[in-house]
Amino acid sequence: MDGQANRGLLMEFLGDLLQWFGENWSGETGWLARTGEHLRVSGAALIAAMAVALPLAGWLGHTGRGGLLAVSVINIGRALPSFGIIALALPFTIWLARSTPLIDSGLGFAPTFIALFLLALPPIFTNTYAGIRGVDADVVEAARGMGITERRLVLDVEMPIASPVILTGIRVTAVQVVATATLGALVGYGGYGRFIVDGLAIQDRLQLVAGAILVAVLSILTEIGFSALERFVVPAGISRRRRADVVPPVAV
């Protein structure tokens, strides 16, 4: 096959893709609805992980306790593949759905949520912990010496000063969660993973590639969105160079 023919095939494929996006956006199985599903489980997992990790790591970082815990958490987090967690979560959620009224179905949202929550926990925890530990001891001593209570010290002094590191952790985590939410399709959840899993199953190359593109675009948008948020949330006066102390992303 010569180059000319190759190019022709590629253009044809791109045309088909555009057509696919044009035809498959609406309805319950359209990519718009799948975007909603994808964001819902990602957002829920991220918020839940933040709700647990921020106060816990904030307090442990403040008191200086839990250093070993922090190290253990990140190492376990790095070692556990999300795919494995989903598989392990499945029997648990099925049992949960059968024997308790907590959830309706053991498939779909619940195991995906659990896997993403466990994925998000370590990097948010460790970055928050490291950020708080990294606050200048003199600033903390001066604050205490002026009669700031311990709780306000964490909230008004340590958290804002550590905010670049904490927000970087959240940003990196968010991108990972969005990318990993794709696995939800393996346990019956919707989201973009649906296109990839179904595309593979029925040998629909177009649907497969479209799904992959959607995941990539949403991940990039997440990165951009959280970067903008950082700019907005980090207090003036704090050097944003501290973003360099980022804990490297956890392997999926």
Binding site: D138, V139, R144, G145, M146, P235, G237
Partner: protein, 362 residues
């Protein structure tokens, strides 16, 4: 104002107490400097006063109140605290930093604003610094902001832990002068920690010299410590220039002044020569009544009267409240080896190196 009674601090795992049975009284409005080698427990002692370190035993009172009876955060809002690294909040502006304690105390916004403005002027920061962030300030400016922040709620007591340790010697000297100047206006009770004996001598109304383990070797005004060191430790800690150090503590006014080789304008050349002989010098000062108009060399004498002499003005002059150190400096750099002393504009006598030496030897 502050009283420490038999205060002991033992840190878990430490070899022996960091502070042992320390008793100290700080009167209202005075600056007390704790000075000693590292490991003498001076910082620990300071931090016990605002409960950043809790004493193992003993009693500390501030304004008559046992500090253990006051919740720690309330005590600390009443006690200003300045540390070497200052610890300004990097995410807050200078104005917000200064407003920290007033905000904790729930002051109204307008009152806080007024107070911040007042403090910025008091510590000699430019008004434009208000909305700057700490990282935009120089070391000296940050230190001033730290002092302003500690003074914000007008606490009667200030604790200062090597506040000028991190700035260069020139800025340090200036900040020390500013602190003394400030103290004349605000009259705080200040406990100041340093390892620098010269700083202690310069700033302290009284100085406590501490030995390893928080033992007070001597607690007295610096002039007394320099004149009569209590023991060998104090003597060694003061170093080898005790006499020179004392010079800066004694004002010229405390030394008996001499008339000096002064003659009135109406005197004769013979009177002038007799006067110079008496003092063993080859120059004489010329008075016009009580006014000192200048001086002349013996070789300027010509004829019998002084009328034709054009007196040279005294370039070296010291004021009555200058220190002996300044006086000595003036004396050894002047051609006449004597410094005329003035009280305001009025000539009151002269001071010589011999006179200073006699005073120190007393």
């Amino acid at each position: 104002m502050i009283r420490l009674e038999n205060v002991t601090k033992v840190f878990p795992g430490g070899s022996g107490p960091a502070v042992h049975q320390l008793s100290l009284d700080v009167a209202e409005g005075e600056i007390v400097v704790l000075v000693g080698p590292s490991g003498c427990g001076k910082t620990t002692t300071l931090k016990m006063i605002n409960r950043l370190v809790e004493p193992t035993s003993g009693r500390i009172t501030v304004a008559g109140e046992d500090i253990m009876a006051i919740p720690a955060h309330e005590l600390r809002r009443r006690v200003g605290y300045v540390i070497q690294q200052i610890g300004l909040f990097p995410h807050r502006t200078i104005a917000e930093n200064i407003a920290t304690v007033p905000r904790l105390l729930g002051w109204e916004r307008t009152r806080i604003d007024d107070r911040v403005g007042e403090l910025i002027r008091l510590v000699d920061l430019e008004p434009g610094m208000r909305n700057r962030y700490p990282r935009e300030l120089s070391g000296g400016q940050r230190q001033r902001a730290g002092v302003a922040r500690a003074l914000a709620a007008d606490p009667p007591v200030m604790l200062m832990d090597e506040p000028f340790g991190a700035v260069d010697p020139i800025v340090r000297g200036r900040l020390q002068d500013e602190l003394l100047d400030l103290q004349r206006r605000v009259h705080k009770t200040i406990v100041f920690v340093t390892h620098d004996i010269d700083e202690a001598i310069k700033l302290g109304d009284r100085v406590a010299i501490l030995n390893i383990g928080g033992i007070v070797e001597q607690y007295a005004p610096p002039a007394v410590i320099l004149r009569d060191p209590a023991n060998a430790f104090v003597k060694a800690f003061l170093g080898s220039h005790r006499g020179i150090k004392r010079l800066s503590l004694i004002p010229v006014g405390e030394v008996p002044l001499e008339d000096g080789p002064m003659v009135d304008r109406s005197a004769t050349a013979r009177d002038a020569r007799a006067c110079m002989d008496r003092y063993g010098v080859d120059w004489f000062g010329i008075l016009d009544g009580k006014e000192l108009v200048g001086w002349a060399w013996a070789s300027d004498l010509d004829g019998d009267s002084l009328a034709h002499i054009d007196p040279k003005p005294f370039e070296a002059r010291v004021s009555l409240d200058a220190s002996l150190r300044e006086a000595l400096d003036t004396i050894i750099t002047s051609r006449t080896r004597v410094a005329p002393v003035f009280d305001g504009g009025r000539f009151v006598g002269t001071i010589t190196a011999e006179g200073i030496s006699r005073e120190l030897a007393k």
